[in-house]
Subunit: 258 residues, 2 copies
DNA sequence: GGGTCGTTTCGGTCCCGACCGAACCGTGCC
DNA sequence: GGCACGGTTCGGTCGGGACCGAAACGACCC
């Protein structure tokens, strides 16, 4: 079929192509990456981080929402958007991990100004640098913990046999007992496969190691925030471990934070 | 940045956007879907299934290979291509599942001529219809078993307690023993998370149920082909269960095929 | 050697869509 | 009411890229 016979916005009925097209634009991709912190952002904030005019951002958001990747919530004159579901977050993470770990010719294209092969842009200012170091220490990754904190917690759970990687990641019996003892609840499991995994490994860019996501990761992160073990710094994804949090992590998991 | 200031093929250093762009074209998406059967296809075959000129197909293939989604293998005057790794297959599957299960506005766009909400095009000919029914019975899904056969095997493994979905999909101790008894080997596991999962659930479009992928799925499929329990029909992804295969499945797993 | 066939390269066409600025709209604040 | 501000709509510009056909290339088979 010659190009001039195609109908407008025609993905020829390929749902795969239609979905990929949503993420194929650098601006929309930047939006999704920013939203990976699991919080709701306003249209203006996203326009600023992506460096486009508000009008442009508005159009992109409408497309992402129509494509069911994002959901919106209007509040006064603000339009808040967030990722539509944990499934979307997982999808975008998987794609990002693949794109950044696969050598490919993209590697040389990204070469200018990326920090020691991490795929992350080098900081442009002091403000940017301190933000990055705070995020490297502890941050959210959609709905679970990441950064050195996230990796340390994952290591502790594995070392203490609360989670195992023998034959696939899973919570052990001791792990279930420990969770009950801490009054941390996991959502019930349907009999058959499918649905959200209980534990999922999620590659941590700053640490180049895996931390834990899935329902367990989300439950731990929720508990940590509820119990004020960690708190948000500013409006980004960075977290601070509170004094009580440091104590709790040491006593319950033997995690020593630098 | 106005459009006329952008550099050519500029994804502004977004690896995510660059990767998604590879899949955002319906022709390239069709190539990847076809290659999901795990076999090597020639450039001409792919051009035919996607309905484009050979010259067009050639250019698309070059881009997919440059992007590390595909690998090529030249043989005489043929150019064979296949998916570059199980990771690529998983990625494309995940995207496809998400795209087809998310209601979204794509649903109505695909409406014309799709069979009862399966997201699959209705057969256009008798030949097409018999092919589809053969694939619904048994087929490969990249490197593991799918179709009614794949789902039946998955159910049998779960029912017999060789695989469990308690706290995430995993092979049980009994499962490991069973595999040893059948002389089916799983690749060794590295200590820390990451790498290919041992068992993975993979949504089956024809059955609307999950079958088993991952290293276990691949090992089972390899064993089934090696031992002539199943054999390929023609050049597609369809499989036929041999008489010995039917017997083996019944005796070893209690699987009754219609 | 000559024909066939799978593949690639090249030239040319055309349109999608990303972008901006300006105008507009509605909310919230003074 | 009036102003400020976040968001949206609209019109216009421009380039990338998807497509084809023709021609070149090279492997394979008489």
């Amino acid at each position: 079929m010659p190009d001039h016979e195609r109908t407008p916005a025609d993905h020829r009925g390929s749902p795969l192509a239609a979905l990929a097209a949503l993420l194929a634009d650098p601006t929309r991709a930047a939006f999704c990456s920013a939203l990976l912190d699991g919080r709701a952002w306003t249209a203006g904030e996203l326009a600023r981080v992506a460096g486009v005019a508000p009008s442009t951002a508005s159009e992109h958001l409408s497309r992402l929402i129509a494509g069911a990747l994002l959901t919106e919530e209007r509040q006064g004159r603000h339009r808040y958007v967030r990722l539509a579901s944990p499934a979307v977050a997982t999808l975008i993470e998987d794609l990002t991990v693949f794109a950044e770990t696969t050598g490919g010719p993209t590697a040389e294209a990204t070469a200018g100004g990326s920090a020691a092969g991490t795929g992350r842009p080098a900081p442009r200012s002091l403000r940017e640098a301190t933000r990055q170091s705070a995020e490297a220490r502890a941050r959210t990754c959609y709905d679970h913990l990441a950064g050195r904190l996230g990796v340390a917690v994952a290591d502790a759970l594995l070392d203490r046999g609360l989670v195992t990687d023998r034959a696939g990641l899973a919570v052990t019996d001791r792990g279930h007992a420990w969770l009950s003892a801490q009054a941390i609840e996991l959502p019930p499991r349907s009999g058959r496969p499918g649905g959200r995994p209980v534990v999922r490994s999620c590659l941590d860019w700053t640490e180049r190691r895996s931390h834990l996501g899935g329902a367990l990761g989300a439950a731990l992160c929720r508990a940590a925030l509820d119990r004020a073990w960690v708190e948000r710094i500013g409006s980004g994804r960075a977290l601070r471990v509170t004094p009580e949090g440091g104590r709790a992590l040491r006593e319950l998991l033997g995690v020593e934070l630098p």
